[in-house]
Symmetry: C2
Amino acid sequence: MTTLGYAILGLLSREDLSGYDLTQRMKGRVGYFWSARHSQIYPELARLEEGGYVTHSVVEQQERPDKKVYGITAEGLEALREWAVQPPVPKPTRDELVLKAYSVWLADQEEAARMFRGEESRHGEQLAHYEELRAWMEGEWGEDLANPESHRFATYATLRRGITYEMGAAEWCRWVADSIEGERSGEKEKQRGARS
Amino acid sequence: MTTLGYAILGLLSREDLSGYDLTQRMKGRVGYFWSARHSQIYPELARLEEGGYVTHSVVEQQERPDKKVYGITAEGLEALREWAVQPPVPKPTRDELVLKAYSVWLADQEEAARMFRGEESRHGEQLAHYEELRAWMEGEWGEDLANPESHRFATYATLRRGITYEMGAAEWCRWVADSIEGERSGEKEKQRGARS
DNA sequence: ACCCGCATGTAAGTCGTTACATGATTCT
DNA sequence: AGAATCATGTAACGACTTACATGCGGGT
């Protein structure tokens, strides 16, 4: 079973969904830490069904195309339960922005500072979005968030990781940009008119 | 040009290296934010050379197999300089541990807490390793670290991102584990003997 | 005698993205 | 009239992993 399979089971353990619905979920909430396109989801659903982890029933609709609604089976739930507590095999990090930072010493300093400021904004906006969600969850879901056997606690936990991540990323971008600009303005006093 | 190509150029902009050396670097320093196996590196080097970004010379060795030592060209340096300031195309995050957290509400609570404690340790150890490196760099490289046009500043910047990342990850793991265990021990008082 | 480090490659397979393909209904 | 949403698939391609393949020299 692939990790994508468990991502799908995680969604289906909360509610029955069609392939199309799953694709939408992968763009929103779940997409913050796992994502997939429909072209990957439909074949994976077929494999999950073949393995007995999900079943589907066709729901006929008028004024909309018919759809296949998938539900998780007892075997699917059990597989998900077991997978959730297995330590993940450590996969190498690949962060293109950090890789760019590794070569930033060669770059035009002004352009580099601008780029890192831009990335700081991107992460800052994502963070603001997460904080909104967090406020909503804390208001709407209240006591559930303290119960680790509630799916709401689990959703909240993933959101908290997102918040930490974006905060760290934004702060780091700001530090890089500040370091570049700080040195440039310092330079002007030390080597007046040396460049530009 | 692929991102791996720029990772290789980033290394070659600092020193000339063989395919074997590059593979080693990808396990260490650079491997913290980009990694590749030798099976990916050798063909990529051939493509880079075809594109005129690197050249190689054969270094004959006695008591060791001969090796091809690669160096970056002026065109390679220019391509790297330009790439470094282009904002990266945002790639979807895929974090298996967060995905597991999303289904943790279904899992055995004790096993789940143990797993997250284990991950907290893993990240904590990585963090300790980074902090050691940081202390070494700050001691050894001193003033270079304030100069954004020094390759040492760039290396230090990537290390700082690693530190923030591991700190955030470790703290989040601890929060998840605490939440699970906190609720379980609270439960014993509230619903004495209800389960277990 | 066997394993480890140095050194360089190719081949097969998996995972994921982009593009191809179709078709009905609703909104602008 | 044309775009967007709902709905489900397949095909081609690229990036990355695992495994296959070879060979010398030095240490246990």
